[in-house]
Amino acid sequence: MIPAVPLVSVLLFAADVAWSAPACPPDAGEELERLVGIELRSAPSSVRVVLTLEACDAKRSDVVALVDYGPDEPPDRVALDLRTVEADARMRTAALAIGESVRARLKGPPPGPKVAVEAPAPPAEEAPLDVGVRGFGVGRRLASSEAWALGVALGGDVAPTPWLTATVDLGWQRAGRSVALGEIRLDVAHALLSLQYTYRSDALRVGLGPAADVGLAIATGSSSRTTVGTGSDRGLFVRAGVRAEVEYSFSTTLRALASVQADTSLRGFVAYVDESPTLGVSGLGATLGLGLGYAL
């Protein structure tokens, strides 16, 4: 497609339409302006649309619309490839497509009916309360022990507002380490709470925020010295850190999830073999997770 050249521009307010045509006849875009104005008749006055035509003849031009929703909202760019549309239908098609784009962006229902409403009240003004369940496979790097723990986590998430997501996960992880002094196995059960500032774009959700983690670690070990034998120890731990999640929705219900979390222990637990710290939940750590979610 040929890059759009701003030969013709229409500055359109919901009620007050301005028009400029620096390099084209003054009536080059009037018909398109009128059609777009009809489609945006119910748009708030804060919506401004600048149309750029590729050529002076609107019937033979692709259209790019820059839609400004006011100082607090990012603008939209709507590029319409009209090559497959027959010439007589191009302007109407462009106007309808721009109208649909503005309507979708405003997140509101269509303009109110002019006759008695027989349909249910639309949900658009309500804050969506997205609730879902999810499961992860996780790997955690225990920095202080230079070992990996593998495990699973099951949980749920709720989004009370479009920009905030709260997640709760219950997980279990296991790590093992063999050293000259013996072998040790660490089982960790934990509960994780995270609040994430959320960015959403179509099927994508990206969240970032603080995370707190509490749990119980149980170490079971055996010394290579037969006189010492086997033993076990347990302890509570508390961790705090930062968690990021990326979610991609395949459909209205099914989601793929990836997470990364970096944290440090506020209260740690370390298992010793022959009086040497061998494996534990302490210090810095990072957890990677891949999983699936299901929206309820």
């Binding site: 309808l96 303009p111 009916p113 179509d202």
Partner: protein, 102 residues
Amino acid sequence: MKLLSAILAQQPPHPQGGLAAFMLGTVELDDLAHPRRALTAFDEAIARRVPKPLLEDAHARRVEAFYRAEDYAGAKAAADAYFERYPTGRRAALVRRWSKKR
């Protein structure tokens, strides 16, 4: 309305029948609150090859029409059809909202 209906009734089919059906659907849904009639119109718009820049909107509008007709199962099925065709579509957020039963 009469003009749009006349275009849709033309034989042989009018070359802009898909566009007329889409416009009829928006009027039925937005201005007259007739979601079932709107649904029929959007189905016809798709069947009659509405111009490509409006095709995704026609699929998205089907979800809204089902919802407004209180046919939530239909809305979910229409949303699944939308996401199958447009997994990262421009109207995904709106479709997701309309496909949820309140």
